[in-house]
Subunit: 310 residues, 2 copies
Amino acid sequence: MSTRSVKASSILVVGSVALDSVETAKGRVERALGGSSVYLSLSAVNFAPVSVVGVVGEDFPGEHRRLLEKRGVDISGLKTLPGKTFHWQGSYTRDFRSAITKKTELNVFEKFRPELSDAECRADILFLANIDPELQLNVLSQMRRPRLVACDTMNFWIERKRPQLLKLLKKVDFIFVNEDEARQLTGEHSLILAGQNMLRLGPRAVLIKKGDYGASLFACGKMAGLCAYPVRDVVDTTGAGDTFGGGFMGYIANSRRPHDFEELKKAMAWGTVMSSFKVEAFSVKRLASLKRPEIMRRWKEYISLVTVRS
Amino acid sequence: MSTRSVKASSILVVGSVALDSVETAKGRVERALGGSSVYLSLSAVNFAPVSVVGVVGEDFPGEHRRLLEKRGVDISGLKTLPGKTFHWQGSYTRDFRSAITKKTELNVFEKFRPELSDAECRADILFLANIDPELQLNVLSQMRRPRLVACDTMNFWIERKRPQLLKLLKKVDFIFVNEDEARQLTGEHSLILAGQNMLRLGPRAVLIKKGDYGASLFACGKMAGLCAYPVRDVVDTTGAGDTFGGGFMGYIANSRRPHDFEELKKAMAWGTVMSSFKVEAFSVKRLASLKRPEIMRRWKEYISLVTVRS
């Protein structure tokens, strides 16, 4: 199942909404729409109803709001505070393996203290994007009975807020990390051992994102791996991991067996397909105009590429 | 099809037979059996009849000969010359991503001028392992009408013998390279472009080996990727690429449509499975005792891990 259905669970995304100035070998953009919540929601909304809780400054362009709304994302939980929107400035090495941060201006994001509305508390699925684990715990405590909880994190929190992060991990179903974060979190160099050890920290499934090398899934005592979709012209990888997470959770929002290994593997494939669109253009440009037939076409192509007839 | 059948085409492997002194985070071995021909043949012989043409010195232990023969490899083309066997000494970084060469003693391998017997000239399939492209061309010219020709190479030849290598590539069906070699050969950083460009150099299929990230196939105007089998305890990756090539060609030796994209993808999966055994132990230890049921069990497990039910 790939298309948004009336029966799909609702997804609440809590994380950053940002303006990104990005430079890559393929060009640059200034203060373009970005942030983990934006990528997650623009990806997941192709599969399920999505609401975003976040904060922006007074400089946040109305066109960005309209874009999110046009794509079906509920942004009634996106607050405007006096001041400027979170701004990230950075560049990528030619192979897109490393991001070099030039500037991180938190601005109003520094004061982000999410307070969920009654409707938001009742969401079926909660995605805690990469924010302070204390805030993630606080948001989780405001929820009524989420059917599923997923989280992301980053090196900064693993180093500075490890106890809070470990407390959170006991309460989540899925965790999304990249290779370095998996190693840092567990102290294990081998990704297989790192993935297995992360399962012992609480989550029922661990997703390790490896960029153009694909992704790995650890769950149900098993491991699976999928290569990335071969994107011919990678332009900007900002938000690719969040777009992966959005596709993953979007598929899972439609699943009756969200802890089944085969379902998780399929969710990983959907995440892979969605993130392949993201990297084809700067910012949200490709996701903003994505049409269902394109998604289905790429899904079929991707599945045919990774399928080995046994 | 996975098991050696009477109808399988015969494979002739021409390359190095060596004694390797290897150190990894998991231990070390001194002058253990190695060399591209050895890994290729011990892998392919599980699928098809294999003969090796190579050279060793007077120090080459009889037990190594007996092992190859016991596994069914025809070593009547393995000559002994006065002097010592090719000896490689090196170590691997903890993540096995880089090999550090401490010593390369070519010894008798320096005088390697393969002369094929009548029977060898009539082999159905020729695998030109990593040797001087001039020798590869010379061997190829001795063959009658091989149904399929595959080759491997390395950075040294790409740099020093590019014209000869390019001449060879016009005459081969399959080429096996790692990521760096693909980039060096084409001058393209993107592996997708590098793979596509290599197809234009002559081969009908290009295999790019990425270690524990898996492998990519370029053929028939398409690209496919497979992740590696998740080996829990990697001990020594020496020869993993050759073992991959052996599994690949072994499967292809049984195929009636060796240029069909689905068949090539399946061959890539067999190569992946075979190389997963190799890395579990030093030298050829794991391959030397490998039993058919183990191979079949891992094949089934691997296919189930990479299969997404669409």
